[in-house]
């Protein structure tokens, strides 16, 4: 009961501070929106197109590239403009169609097309998409060139024949299936995965930042004053922990509910999702109380808290998908509670799992919470009973 009073006063103080309102409530949503619009499905990667000379092949290629649904295409008037646009990141890649495409092809020479991309992950994927579009267009050309060599026809006749019979063959289809219950990307909304990463990042960040409130309470002698009342050390430790936990839960639920309403984010099975939030909030709260007990300078705690919460979030896969980590880094990642929480959300969101499917994640996180709380209450006990 007394612990509850201590916890509630923590939450009340947090809500009163205007900068907390920003960092706890406004900023995470803004970031989810920003990242969703940046990396989610809503905005497609853009590719720039420069055509040196109009012609049949140039038209075919540009039509085919522009008809690709997974990318946006923008035309540029000069080669230099396109290069600059790629360098500046205004488009993710550029395709250059040189002059004399038709005559080069007709002379049975290799048609050379230029491609530039930014040296990050999306460049390779764009090259694959553009490459397969071009390959489709160039199939009859290649066939015609082959036929010209193998028969005595001219290129134009061969090209007409090739075009006319293209698509008659059965073709080779590539089908993609996922092992597991559900097909993956189709069911995922634009904000779904980003939202759980941000949730995990911010709940932990806020919990660590909350250590400042505890440090202030100790500095002002309020912790000692609490101890002079008929309140046990245990109640004080539990109360301060409940305060941090409550703040984490308030923020977590806020993010979950608002993203559900505004962005229609899928959080998976409600009960399992809630359990995951509860145990992860407990981990954050434990870490926050531990920091608040170990440090006696809130500025230092703040600096260390930012490093820890952003660093662990990055290592744990909140900023970059863990599946793309090297095997060693994946192992390292699973030393962070973040990675386990994200694994749990992935199970719930991507595969529609329920509580039974995330027992391992819940267990590991509960273990983290238990260890952190044990350490934190030991340190806090020492900190407030020390003169």
């Amino acid at each position: 009961m007394k612990a509850l009073a201590i916890g509630m006063s923590n939450i009340r103080r947090m809500l009163r501070e205007r900068s907390n309102i920003f960092f706890v409530f406004i900023f995470p949503l803004a970031l989810i929106l920003l990242i969703g619009s940046q990396f989610g499905g809503g905005v497609k990667p853009a590719i720039g197109l420069y055509i040196a000379e109009a012609g049949e092949l140039a038209t075919d290629i540009s039509d085919e590239v522009e008809s690709q649904e997974s990318i946006d295409t923008r035309r540029f008037d000069t080669e230099a403009d396109l290069v600059t646009a790629v360098e500046r990141g205004h488009v993710q890649a550029g395709l250059f169609l040189p002059a004399n495409l038709d005559s080069t092809a007709a002379a049975s020479n290799v048609v050379e097309l230029g491609f530039v991309a930014r040296p990050d992950g999306s460049g390779q994927q764009l090259q694959a998409i553009v490459g397969s579009a071009i390959a489709d267009v160039m199939k009859p050309v290649g066939a015609a060139q082959f036929a010209v060599a193998a028969s005595d026809s001219d290129f134009e006749t061969a090209n007409d024949v090739a075009r006319s019979i293209a698509g008659q063959a059965g073709g080779v289809e590539v089908s993609v299936t996922a092992v597991g219950e559900a097909l993956f990307p189709d069911t995922l909304g634009q904000f779904d995965l980003g939202a759980s990463s941000q949730l995990v990042l911010f709940v932990f960040l806020t919990a660590l930042a909350g250590s400042a409130a505890l440090i202030l309470t100790r500095q002002l002698g309020i912790s000692s004053r609490m101890l002079s009342t008929p309140t046990s050390v245990r109640s004080i430790v539990v109360g301060e922990s409940m305060g941090r936990f409550g703040v984490a839960m308030v923020q977590g639920l806020y993010i979950v509910v608002l993203t559900l309403i505004i962005f229609n984010v899928n959080w998976g099975d409600p009960l399992a999702s809630l359990l995951l939030l509860v145990v992860f909030s407990a981990v954050g709260a434990g870490a926050g109380v531990l920091m608040g007990s170990v440090f006696s300078n809130d500025q230092q705690a703040g600096g260390v808290g930012v490093v820890l919460s952003l660093g662990l979030a990055a290592l744990g896969g909140c900023m970059f998908p863990i599946e793309l980590f090297s095997p060693t880094m994946q192992t390292v990642a699973h030393f962070t509670p973040h990675a386990w929480a994200l694994d749990g959300y992935a199970e719930l969101v991507r595969r529609g799992g329920n509580t039974g499917d995330i027992l391992l994640e819940l267990g590991v996180l509960a273990g983290y919470a238990a260890v952190l709380f044990a350490l934190a209450s030991w340190r806090l006990r020492v900190a407030i009973t020390r003169p």
């Binding site: 397969s132 071009i134 199939k139 082959f146 193998a150 090739a162 059965g170 993609v176």
Partner: protein
């Protein structure tokens, strides 16, 4: 001016002894850049491997299906992926389950037969639910092979029609060339000239440095509010020194702290992480301009905030918004959309652009346009903060 310097140097000594400034100014950005580099640098480095681990199950064992495996082996030889061959679907599924491979290619019996008879054929890509990106890359590898096969089919069909000969074994032998060469009618050359782009390591190092810069300079100008509360400001005002020396002293302190922190970070990231910041003179110009802009903007905070706590909170909100929008963590915006234009209302974005302009051995002059833009921020915010702070001190 000399008094201002004297005040700044006195405070600088205090700050250098203060662990908080050390943590915010150097330890935090350095360790975060290091961690982020470990995560992102590793992921973006093609030679480090992004961990593409594929399996192949060839149940067809025809000429065409084995050639697919050969293609995969060639890519493996380039070090882009790791390949494991399975004899049956069960063991491949098991390998995905165990996380040994991300996905596997399945060629079912009759694959070669179907292609030979122009019937529909299928390459199956079975991916781990938890490795969508990796699976997508596998699919595009399979598509490229499929396209080659289709080109060959079309070449054979076209030749057959032109020569009015049925597709028989003798006909195929008579072609003289491999029809699969039909897929080689074009080349898509990667002509990327990697200029004006920062490598991932330098991007992260620079991003963290400029992000924390806005916190570091706070240890200077925001100290005015602390002194106001402590009452030491009254003492300074009572002393026979001009108000400009007091404000100037704090501004110089901020500037020096920012400069020291940036210098240490640049040297440290260059030595420890292999960041390449570019032409020293150009970097120096950007850093000086960037620090000035940070002092100006945080000076505004000092001028309007009511209490030291309020100033600290407001400055971290501003630092976080500007940093995020300015792309210190990841590039913001898709080019010329509103968001991309919005990012250039931050000195952070100009700082990053200036460094990008210096990339790949560009001369120091390449940093001039961005430096100019940052100086505009510095002059405008600096002038307003100066006026407001001087007015605040008169009260």
């Amino acid at each position: 001016m000399r008094t201002a310097f004297r005040i700044a140097v006195k405070d600088l000594k205090l700050r250098l002894r203060d662990r908080s400034a050390l943590i915010i100014g150097i330890i935090a950005p350095l360790s975060l850049a290091f961690i982020l580099n470990l995560v992102f640098g590793n992921a973006f480095d093609p030679t480090g491997g992004i961990g593409l681990e594929y399996g192949v199950v060839d149940l067809d064992r025809s000429e065409i299906s084995t050639s697919f495996t050969s293609v995969l082996e060639e890519i493996e030889a380039e070090g882009i992926l790791e390949l494991e061959q399975f004899t049956d679907v069960e063991s491949a599924d098991e390998a995905i389950d165990q996380g040994e491979v991300d996905s596997y290619f399945l060629l079912e019996p009759g694959f070669g037969q179907a292609i030979g008879t122009n019937s529909p054929a299928t390459i199956k890509v079975v991916g781990d639910v938890d490795a969508p990106t990796s699976t997508q890359i596998a699919a595009s590898i399979a598509s490229q092979f499929a396209t080659g096969v289709e080109a060959a089919q079309l070449a054979i069909g076209t030749t057959s029609q032109l020569t009015s000969m049925p597709v028989t074994a003798e006909f195929l032998d008579s072609l003289g060339a491999d029809p699969r060469t039909a897929a080689a009618s074009y080349r898509l050359d990667d002509v990327s000239t990697p200029t004006r782009q920062l490598d991932a390591t330098t991007y992260l190092a620079a991003g963290m440095a400029v992000f924390f810069l806005f916190f570091t300079v706070g240890f200077g100008v925001l100290g005015l509010l602390e002194e106001e509360r402590q009452g030491t400001l009254t003492r300074l005002r009572a002393a026979p020194i001009h108000r400009a020396s007091i404000v100037g002293g704090k501004a110089i302190l901020s500037f020096l702290l920012g400069l020291i922190s940036m210098f240490v970070l640049i040297v440290a990231t260059q030595l420890l992480m292999g960041a390449t910041w570019g032409a020293p003179l150009g970097v120096a110009l950007l850093v000086v301009a960037g620090v000035l802009a940070a002092v100006g903007i945080i000076g505004l905070v000092a001028a309007v905030a009511k209490s030291p706590e309020g100033a600290e909170n407001l400055s971290s909100i501003i630092a976080v918004i500007l940093g995020m929008l300015g792309g210190v963590f990841f590039q913001v915006g898709q080019g010329d959309d509103i968001l991309s234009r919005l990012t250039f209302i931050t000195p952070h974005a100009w700082f990053m652009r200036g460094l990008a302009d210096l990339a790949d051995g560009a001369p120091w002059t390449a940093a001039l346009p961005a430096t100019g833009a940052i100086l505009v921020f510095a002059v405008v915010t600096g002038a307003i903060s100066w006026v407001l702070l001087m007015r605040r001190l008169r009260r």
